[in-house]
Amino acid sequence: MRSAHRTGAMPHCRPQARHLHGIGLTAAVLMAVTLATLASADSSDGLFPTADQVGGQVFPTGIKQGDAFPTDFKIYDDTGQATDLAQVIKDKRTLVTFFISAAPVSISELKKIQDTAKAARDTQVIFVNADTVGVALIGGQSKAISETARTVRVIRQEEKLEHAMFVAPNDALSPTGLSNRLGLRGLPTSYLVDKNGKVERVFVGPQAWKQGDL
């Protein structure tokens, strides 16, 4: 119904069937970042979270030095194959750098980190794209991982990157989404994780990397 109605009742929504002719573009983009977490109610019914559900505010404290680094979120390698992050970093001191292909500053940071890491042979470096690209016009939701993996491969080639690269789908509107669990808001953000899985240091934003940082 489209007629005016007084406050007191929520506006009448049209029958849902009208919205189900294909995946709407808005929903598709939001859902594109949620491939691994489609079960989350917040991504499927249009709800937005409260501050309490995402760390108390827009910029939560997140994972910090001394915390155990979570490895139970889904990641995919640069061919789009599901991968176990726990196995990737097991028993290895690892710099986990999250980036997003939409932010130029986080792309340019990857090469800087690679250059810095050459002097830190005992530290593994991995780059994780904390998002999936929009796929509304190129096949829809089912293409999210493969298209993002393809984008990651393009970045690898253009930036001449040698370290392993991954894709980690994120649902920013879900309390359990990757960015809300880790407190990621600005990318790049890098976590230096020791062999036991504890966070040694957190680097938020681009860094003036110097020897000894890793």
Binding site: H21, L47, A102
Partner: protein
């Protein structure tokens, strides 16, 4: 009783045309620049809109159209591909006043690249398509063939290309300035209204996530060229404009998502709207200094403190952000500044904004009742400030709605589900009707809806293939601009 030139034209045009045509079956000239619909059966429905020309940019059709709401018909349209833009995305729009919009008026159009949400923000193939642009445009209805033409490419003239809201100065800034903003570059540019615009002032806003501070800086053109070096994608922090909810998404660490500059109707003040950090920088438009940073969330202080000023950079402490916001603007009478908090809090903060010192502005109320599905988004005014209208947006599967708020009580008193993906509100020049557009999430149902502001009746619905994200009714005077898309967006 005052009688405006617009009202005079409204009456005489109809009478003159009827007299000229004579009989019931007379056929008007095929080249009449304004169609006489007085013998057509829909006339009785639309004649009340005489004098209202509505500009509708088609976000994914690449066009802008001028619509005579009283026929209704499209008077003229223009595709920005003609200006050399590959896949143009006409985004936001503002019109300068015209006593006779059927004859001529100027307007401003911003444009952003298609690497935006809704399409494909990141894939490599899309990185070079489209462009950031600001155009000054002119409608010419003085002859037998109406037309819309580019007057100037403001981005080329100034060297700075911004793609989101545009707003024209009012009150003490009337006839002087136009402001452009962009949340991918976090910049604001103020220029003169000239056909060859002059740079007046530019701002850049950056967040320091470690210090939890916002830096607001003046930026200056190159002294040798007199222009900035921010055309095209230069200066871009992120490859797409953040859609609603993306304030929580990881992004460039300095990103604040500047969205618009809105003008106080009576005082030399304007507001830079900062989405991600949920605040509004109030700027003195005589000195162009940011004089207060309002923190609009419920539970937040009225403003964030200035920590230091270093040269042309003002640093404010932002220790906590309880919610992002989207738009914010002034009621037509300037007594209140209203901010659409959304995502984590969905409410509208009401500041009293009469004191010349914005640091003394206090939150007096909140419009509430939107739940956690419906996000206050855009704001629309009427000339006498008897109502304020808001777009309340929702993600699918919800449509969102338009609501009417009583400024005496700050309560919602009516709401309308006008269609999926509702966007901006404006009003007819007499303030009797509200116009609003819905865009069908850039690919589905879209149209223009007209609502009687007092009876709450939807009185017209017009189709549009354009998926419009914005629209504006051409104001009739500089005083009328105060209820247009200048004080609010």
């Amino acid at each position: 009783m005052t009688f405006s030139r617009r009202q005079y034209l409204r009456n005489t045009l109809g009478l003159g045309a009827a007299a000229a045509l004579g009989g019931r079956h007379a056929v008007p000239s095929a080249f009449a620049a304004v169609h006489d619909a007085s013998k057509e059966s829909q006339y009785k429905l639309f004649e009340k809109f005489k004098g209202n020309v509505v500009l509708i940019p088609g976000k994914y059709s690449g066009t802008v159209s001028a619509l005579d709401l009283s026929v209704p018909e499209t008077l003229a349209w223009y595709n920005y591909g003609l200006a050399g833009v590959d896949m143009p995305i006409p985004h936001h729009i503002a019109a300068a006043p015209s006593a006779d919009p059927y004859k001529s008026f100027d307007f401003y159009q911003t444009m952003q690249p298609p690497g935006s949400p809704y399409v494909n923000e990141n894939s490599p193939e899309w990185r070079t398509r489209g462009d950031f642009k600001m155009f000054k445009m002119r409608y010419d209805g003085s002859g037998t063939q109406n037309s819309i033409q580019v007057v100037s490419d403001i981005s080329a003239e100034t060297g700075m290309a911004l793609g989101v809201h545009v707003s024209i100065g009012v009150g003490p800034n009337a006839r002087r300035y136009v402001a452009f903003a962009d949340g991918q570059k976090d910049m604001v540019l103020i220029t003169t209204l000239d056909d060859t615009p002059k740079i007046v002032k530019a701002f850049r806003v950056d967040y320091d996530p470690v210090a939890r501070q916002i830096n607001i800086s003046h930026v200056f053109p190159d002294s040798s060229t007199g222009k900035f070096d921010y055309q095209g994608r230069k200066g871009m922090k992120t490859s797409h404009e953040a859609m609603l909810g993306e304030e929580l998404m990881p992004a460039d660490p300095t990103a604040v998502f500047v969205d618009a500059f809105t003008w106080h109707p009576d005082m030399p003040l304007g507001a830079i709207l900062i989405r991600r950090q949920g605040c509004c920088a109030i700027v003195n438009t005589e000195t162009w200094e940011p004089v207060a940073l309002l923190s609009t969330a419920k539970g937040a202080p009225d403003n964030f403190p200035l920590v230091k000023q270093s040269g042309y950079t003002w640093t404010f402490s932002v220790p906590s952000v309880l919610t992002p916001l989207h738009e914010a603007g002034f009621l037509t009478n300037g007594k209140y500044f209203l901010a659409c908090n959304n995502v984590l809090q969905n409410n509208i903060a009401v500041y009293r904004s009469e004191d010349p010192d914005p640091k003394k502005w206090k939150k007096e109320a909140f419009v509430e009742g939107f739940g956690n599905k419906y996000l206050p988004l855009h704001m629309g005014n009427v000339p006498d400030s008897r109502w304020a209208f808001f777009t309340i947006w929702a993600r699918k599967p919800n449509n969102g709605y338009i609501c009417k708020v009583d400024p005496k009580t700050w309560q919602m008193v009516a709401k309308w589900d006008t269609g999926p993906d509702p966007h901006t509100c404006d009003c007819t020049v007499d303030g009797q009707y509200i116009t609003t557009v819905y865009s069908g999430n850039q690919g589905g149902q879209s149209g223009l809806v007209v609502i009687h502001a007092d009876s709450d009746e939807i009185v017209a619905r017009l189709p549009s293939p354009a998926g419009q994200h914005d629209h504006v009714v051409v104001p009739e005077s500089w005083e009328g601009m105060k209820a247009s898309r200048s004080t609010s967006v």
